[in-house]
């Protein structure tokens, strides 16, 4: 019986590992390492410059599962709370980050624009990009 429980637990752990999704916040290489709090500040537009370079955060579209994971694991805010935050910022004269349809469009935008940051799945990262932060579901 003990063996059976052990095996089930092992299978559960392995399946968690196999099915875990890895994501990363990336840039085209002109930004140095940044803290999680700075990432949050960039995506809330509290931090708009880094080393005198304009930072342009890019989101995936609303309801995208990677965006939801980013909101939950990196920003620690629900979509609804973020929506409320941006409604308040509208009154204060600030706009939310740009949204793009796909990881492909984020990559092509990041390649062209220095200071742009965006998140994609780790498996889609190539040598043109620098990883600033990694997380898993």
């Amino acid at each position: 019986m003990k063996k059976l429980i052990k095996s089930i637990l092992w299978i559960h752990c392995i399946s968690q590992f196999v099915y875990a999704n890895d994501y990363a916040l990336i840039t085209n290489g002109h930004i140095n390492k940044i803290s999680k709090a700075q990432i949050k500040a960039i995506y809330l537009k509290k931090l708009t410059y880094l080393n005198n370079m304009k930072i342009i955060p890019i989101n995936l579209e609303a309801n995208n599962k990677i965006r939801e994971s980013f909101n939950k694991n990196v920003l620690h805010m629900s979509s609804n709370r973020l929506k409320i935050y941006w409604i308040k910022q509208h009154y204060l004269g600030h706009r939310p980050p740009l949204s793009m349809k796909s990881q492909k469009s984020i990559k092509s935008f990041l390649k062209k624009i220095d200071g742009a940051v965006g998140y994609i799945e780790v498996k889609n990262i190539d040598n043109n990009f620098k990883v600033l932060y990694k997380w898993s579901d």
Binding site: S35, Q38, K46, T48, Y49, H76, I87, L92, G93
Partner: protein, 351 residues
């Protein structure tokens, strides 16, 4: 009036042109970095002796940015229409003048420094930064946000911020000139030097503000406009019409999580002639029952030497938001000065 109507028509035609407009988003003018928005609020107030109906704010705002520069402009009708019924006498007031609520240009130097010039909301405490009905938690403002410091500053503002694992921010406000449009400002001032420091880590933020301002004339808050306090008002007006130096300090703290928010502010004011606010404070707890329903409890207390009033109150409020930019609010205030007990209902929308 005509300009406002033209701007409002432009705003609504832009709304219709935009396919995916959501309330509270504002609209972009063509592909220019210029955005338009607006808001309005209506209010009903019931006290033991009177009923008041108000179409309060009707405002239009515009903002945008280009490279290191950004701007904010907000024009507004204040107390556009007020009807008060007291002892079977009905009083109606209209103010159809347009007022400049905010007008400033920002320049962001880098990740640490920014500067502003123009008329802006004094970055003092938390409540004062989101003062419009639709965005604040209750229909009413805590008294401490009204009597301790000037809500608006016309002049220079500069901020230093440092964000690493937490956020440290320093604010400096300087005014050494007349206000822009001060009819509805809580203080009419020609000098204001303010300093603030705030620290934020995860869900917790704390802030300290200190400052000095030269009061030219303090408006009588409508709260005090009551027959029973006419005598006090007279003294108040006489005293407050004199130019006066005032020093203030305010300590604020806030904890904001997914479902709860706790916030408090306590302020003190000093004046060489002793006519100042000894203390004014509030502590507020907010519970987000669901995305649409919020319950709020606030306790307030103040001791004001200017009005010779000392009062404490408990406010029980409920807000229903079918969507966040639409707020239907109800609150009841219990005061130790019973004549100020009141029911407030309001409806407000942000575009």
């Amino acid at each position: 009036m005509k300009i406002f109507l033209i701007l409002f028509s432009l705003f609504f035609s832009l709304l219709q042109a935009k396919d995916s407009y959501e309330l509270g988003d504002g609209v972009q003018i063509s592909s220019l970095p210029i955005y338009l928005g607006g808001y309005f609020s209506t209010e009903y107030e019931h006290t033991k002796s009177s009923d008041k109906y108000k179409l309060d704010d009707i405002a239009l705002l515009s903002y945008g940015n280009y490279q290191h520069f950004s701007y904010m402009a907000e024009i507004e009708y204040k107390n556009f229409y007020t009807k008060k019924v007291k002892d079977d006498i009905t009083l109606t007031q209209k103010d159809t003048s347009l007022y400049v609520e905010r007008l400033y240009v920002d320049y962001t130097f880098n990740e640490n420094y920014m500067a502003r010039v123009g008329k802006y909301l004094s970055p003092i405490g938390f409540w004062n930064l989101l003062p419009i009905n639709v965005l604040r938690d209750t229909s009413s403002d805590p008294i401490s946000t009204n009597i301790i410091f000037p809500e608006f500053t016309t002049g220079l503002y500069t901020a230093y911020s440092n964000i690493k694992d937490s956020e440290l921010k320093i604010d400096i406000m300087v005014q050494n000139n007349e206000d822009i449009d001060n009819k509805y400002s809580n203080y009419r001032i020609n000098k204001h030097y303010g300093f603030g420091i705030s620290y934020e880590k995860e869900n917790f933020t704390t802030k300290i503000n200190i400052g000095y301002f030269n009061k030219l004339h303090r408006l009588i808050d409508e709260e005090y406009e009551d027959d029973e306090t006419e005598e006090q008002d007279e003294e108040y007006t006489t005293a407050s019409n004199k130019e006066q130096d005032l020093y203030y300090m305010l300590f604020s703290a806030k904890y904001d999580s997914q479902n709860y928010q706790f916030m408090g502010e306590i302020g003190h004011q000093e004046s060489p002639n002793g006519l100042a606010t000894n203390y004014a404070l509030y502590i507020q707890g907010l519970y987000r029952i669901t995305q649409k329903h919020t319950a709020i409890i606030r306790v307030e207390s103040y001791d004001d030497k200017v009005t010779a009033l000392q009062d404490s109150s408990s406010i029980f409020a409920y807000t229903y938001r079918p969507a966040y930019p639409i707020a239907l609010k109800a609150e009841y205030q219990f005061h130790t000065l019973k004549k100020y007990d009141k029911l407030l209902l309001s409806f407000s929308v942000l575009f």
